[in-house]
Amino acid sequence: MTDLTRREFLLIGVAGGAVAAVGVIVPLSRMGETEQAAIDGGSTPPTTTTLPQPPAAVVGFFPKLKVASLSDVNANEPIKFDYPLQGQRNVLVKLDTPVSYGIGPDENIVSFSSICTHMGCVLDQYMPEHNALGPCPCHFSTFDLANNGMVTLGQATQNLPQVLLSVEDDDIYATGVIRLVYGYADTLQGAPMVEVS
């Protein structure tokens, strides 16, 4: 993991707005560096007193994390993992149909957040016959993993966040997340930030 200074970490609370204001394109997935585990983002938000001047851009980054082996992925057995932060739960599944965002030889391996985007309950039921995650045990939202994680029926106001995947040999890596993860105002809130000049 990148060795960040305390000062850089403290910038998290303000950096996003500052960066957006000056139009700098932020965070990136650092493909070159592989993490062994999801980042401990910490649960205690930083306390700021006097705000330092932001650098040109201060960005969070998505780690590259091995989450499964191709040979271990079975149709009816979702693989669970946290990414990019610890506690951000996801599932990786093999669909019964290829999709544009699927990986693997049959382009049917996909991964999504398993935290319901309605009120944050854990989606612990996968229905392989429907490629569907849910219904959520709390309010029954059901998500179609073969259609970008859209809600087929339910009260969630966002598609499930999708975990971007890549394959190297037999290894499947998570490399980023599309859409906001339940509970967060910033998917990488609390993650280490890097300075980009």
Binding site: G13, V14, G16, G17, A21, I25, V26, P27, L28, S29, M31, S43, P45, T47, T48, G60, F62, G87, V99, T117, M119, G120, C121, H130, N131, A132, H139, F140, T142, D144, A146, N147, N148, M150, V151, T152, L153, G154, Q155, A156, T157, Q158, N159, P161, L164, S166, G176, V177, I178, R179, L180, V181, Y182, G183, Y184, A185, D186, T187, L188, Q189
Partner: protein
């Protein structure tokens, strides 16, 4: 190498402005707070750093999370601002705990944002010149409407001047419109968005004396058993289900031809699904009444004390109750006189197994054991099928088991939309040209128009034609009428006036459409009046448990658009009428207060209190937050006290004060079914609402989250029918019928297209579609003849039919989900 930008949402800084507002859509009307602050500023993730007072990341079920669809950028007081709309944590009712539906949860996206799909909001008045709608000034638009209205009334009579208008779009707007149309013009040519005529939508229930909105949501939680007919609460009254019915744990008796989510939920949780054939509700409820009486399970004490006998019924003064009111003995005699209401007869007529009917009777009554607290709730699937008879039959069941006026025991509507229909004046029934057996009924304004009697129609806030039965026949006639006489060739106000006046005088029709977005009816409009709506003005409205709340202004109206009430007031004044000098909506609300006195929506005490204290009534209402106060409101000194449930005094809305039974005429239903049932290769084409969207999709067609789910209208077809017809999900279907009955009772045709959604939600021989999807006129295959139901002039919206043909494929497989929608 791939790059991904982590999603993020700006949080409101601690000094963000906070307003209260309730959801715009379903009748539950959850409470929300809107936070607004200048773009470029942000709060932090700690509770002390943001106006939400919430730590981010938020926890499970916190109700504080802000999804990407809960944020928008708006113009507020001329300034570009962020807005976040999330459930109100201070609410003590409705959506306690920060829950929401998919519709209300994304309310922020309802606001106008020119960089979003909302960019096609009407921003100026428009006049159709040489066939195209082009911008004109408000001065010209209101002058034209006023002068053409005056000309129509002076030369063709007030019955030739019509208004088709939402019945619910806030007290202040309905009051202003009705002050003009009913109070000043005094026309009977006035009808709501959903029906051809004014009047009661649930007349059979009303004739029992039970108020349709007597219950409070707390009753749902208290009930042991809830029968739900013709409505899927999870899909369309979501938070009433998830916050009140589901946690209450009542066993559900779900009555519907479709196996929807709530049907599946009922089955999984100790309830039952009575999957009746379309149009057979009366046989089912009459059989339940018979079975309960046969078993001796009726609430004898209630009937003895609170149900009118024959001599009391003879004292009724309203013609419908005189004609159809029945005593217990008379109802017993009727249901026992007919074989159709035996368990076996009802099974044959309804398709519901006799054993399930008996089981339902036992569940509702306790089957001879302790009497459970039972509720009976219904909505349009019931009363837009057969109107009078169905609402009478289900009302009888409620009376029979004493399901009224008591905790956890009620009979009534789930509700379709919220309740904001306080009119300024009564309906001029004496001017209506329509009668039932010599008794006046409200004018069927569509029939009247088709007959060529309406020369000027002002359509307000509705897809008028798409929302009426026999849509395409009605549209064809409207095209004829607007093509009779001149069209406008100039933006010169006097030239335009003379051309439209000439059309009126030559027997044609001038259409004004007051709206926020173009819809399928705008194509017929000569004039468009660009309106402001929810969140763009301070308004008040009730929900389905009569809970009155203030909906505050959050955003500016786009461009030159104007809130509805101001349009009515401006034109009223230009027509020379007095009483339209309101400075703001509070003044209208205060004027409306006394008019509400004595009714279900009585907020007169609140207005009296405010005026006595020198306060503004809106400000007093704001103090109640999104919890609001349930009408009727009464005063206890300086306290304003709400009314949780009606009939708690064990009095009903009849002359005797007792509840009535009402004649549930199966013969009338059977006769109508014989006319309306599918013929030949036709199948039932039922229609209704679905979870993600609302009404005519005026908002939702402009919400990416909804349009990705529903890129086009759908038709649910049973897997066996799909196999027989060689169809799969994603096919493009044509649905058509040559047996549609139009506004004049003639046979006509109707057709629309939809994507196939193969699902066991529907049984074989039954299909289901969305009722008002843009570009998909599903009501073109539903009947448009109110003479089929002459008691109350309502359409049989839920009894559409047609043949289903595959005409191609779509590109939707792979970008629209076809996963079953009834997975529990």
């Amino acid at each position: 190498m791939s790059f991904a930008q982590p999603a993020r949402i700006p949080l409101p800084p601690v000094d963000a402005e906070v307003n209260i507002i309730c959801c715009e859509y379903c009748p539950v009307a959850c409470g929300y707070k809107a936070y607004t602050w200048p773009v470029g500023e942000e709060g932090g993730p700690a509770a002390s750093e943001n106006a939400l007072g919430a730590d981010f990341p938020t926890g499970t079920l916190s109700g504080s999370w802000v999804s990407e669809n809960m944020h928008n950028v708006i113009t507020r007081n001329g300034q570009t601002q962020n807005v976040i709309v999330i459930p109100d944590h201070d609410i003590e009712a409705v959506n306690i705990g920060g829950t929401h539906s998919v519709r209300g949860g994304a309310l922020a996206k309802k606001f106008y944002n020119p960089n979003s799909p909302t960019s096609d909001r009407f921003q100026t008045p428009l006049l159709r010149v040489h066939g195209d709608l082009i911008p004109i000034s408000w001065d010209m638009a209101t002058d034209l409407v006023a002068r053409l209205s005056t000309h129509t009334i002076d030369n063709h009579g007030e019955l030739a001047w019509g208004m088709k208008i939402y019945s619910y779009q806030f007290y202040e707007n309905v009051f202003a419109a009705s002050k003009l149309a009913l109070g000043n013009i005094e026309t009977p040519n006035y009808s709501p968005h959903h029906a051809p005529a004014e009047g009661d939508d649930v007349p059979g229930l009303s004739d029992t004396g039970i108020d349709a909105f007597a219950a409070t949501f707390e009753d749902d939680r208290e009930a042991d058993v809830i029968m739900i007919s013709g409505s899927d609460p999870y899909e369309t009254k979501t938070v009433r289900f998830t916050t009140w019915q589901q946690p209450g744990g009542a066993k559900l008796i779900y009555v519907d031809p479709r196996k929807t989510f709530t049907a599946a939920y009922a089955m999984k949780n100790g309830g039952i699904h009575l999957q009746l054939k379309p149009g057979t509700d009366v046989a089912l409820y009459n059989a339940l009444v018979r079975e309960i009486i046969d078993q001796g399970w009726e609430d004898k004490a209630f009937i003895s004390k609170y149900v009118a006998n024959r001599s009391e019924l003879d004292g009724e003064t309203k013609w419908r109750r005189q004609m159809f009111g029945r005593s217990f003995d008379e109802i017993r005699e009727y249901v026992f006189s007919r074989e159709e209401f035996t368990l076996q007869g009802a099974e044959r007529e309804t398709g519901v197994p006799a054993q399930l009917i008996r089981e339902a009777a036992a569940m509702l009554t306790g089957g001879g054991g302790p009497q459970p607290k039972s509720m009976i709730l219904f909505e349009k699937g019931l009363y837009w099928s057969h109107n009078y008879e169905n609402t009478a039959a289900i009302g009888n069941l409620g009376v029979l088991i004493g399901a009224t006026g008591q905790v956890g025991r009620a009979t009534g509507r789930m509700g379709g939309h919220q309740r904001g229909g306080q009119k300024a004046a009564g309906y001029p029934m004496d001017k209506s040209p329509h009668f039932f057996e010599g008794n006046p009924v409200e004018m069927d304004t569509e029939r009247w128009l088709v007959e060529g009697n309406t020369r000027f129609r002002w359509v307000v806030g509705t897809n008028w034609i798409g929302a009426m039965g026999a849509t395409q026949a009605l549209a064809a006639r409207v095209r004829e009428l607007i093509s009779t006489g001149p069209t406008v060739s100039s933006t010169n106000v006097d030239v335009a006036y003379e051309q439209l006046r000439a059309r009126i005088d030559e027997g044609g029709l001038v259409v004004v459409h007051q709206e926020i977005y173009p819809n399928d009816s705008t194509q017929y409009a000569d004039l468009v009046l660009a309106a402001g709506a929810w969140g763009e003005e301070n308004y008040a409205r009730n929900n389905a448990e009569r809970r009155l709340r203030l909906y505050e202004k959050i955003s500016d109206t786009p461009g030159q658009s104007i809130p509805d009430w101001k349009i009515f007031a401006t034109i009223g004044k230009r027509m020379g009428f007095g009483g339209f000098d309101w400075k703001d909506t509070n003044e209208i609300f205060e004027e409306a207060g006394p008019k509400s006195a004595g009714g279900r929506r009585d907020f007169s005490a609140l207005v009296e209190y405010a005026q006595e204290k020198g306060l503004r009534a809106h400000d007093v209402l704001r103090e109640f937050g999104t919890t609001g106060i349930q009408t009727p409101i009464v005063r206890d000194g300086d306290n304003l006290v709400g009314t949780p449930r009606l009939h708690a005094d064990m009095k009903w809305k009849t002359n005797s004060g007792k509840a009535n039974f009402v004649f549930p005429d199966w013969d009338a239903v059977a006769e109508r079914n014989a006319i309306l049932a599918p013929q030949g290769d036709e199948v039932w084409v039922l229609n209704g609402r679905i979870n993600h969207v609302w009404n005519n999709l005026s908002d939702f067609a402009r919400r990416e989250y909804a349009t990705q789910r529903w890129p086009m209208n759908f038709l649910e077809i049973n897997p066996d029918d799909a196999k027989k017809w060689d169809m799969v999900s994603g096919d493009l279907l044509s649905i058509e019928s040559n047996n549609v009955i139009d506004q004049l009772g003639n046979k006509t045709t109707g057709s629309f297209t939809a994507v196939a959604y193969v699902s066991d939600t529907v049984p074989t021989g039954v299909t289901f579609t969305y009722f008002l999807f843009p570009g998909s006129p599903a009501n073109s295959v539903t009947p448009g003849d109110s003479n089929l139901q002459p008691i109350n002039l309502r359409y049989n919206f839920k009894l559409g039919k047609g043949t289903v043909t595959k005409i191609g494929t779509t590109d939707l497989v792979g970008r629209m989900s076809f996963v079953p929608r009834n997975l529990v």
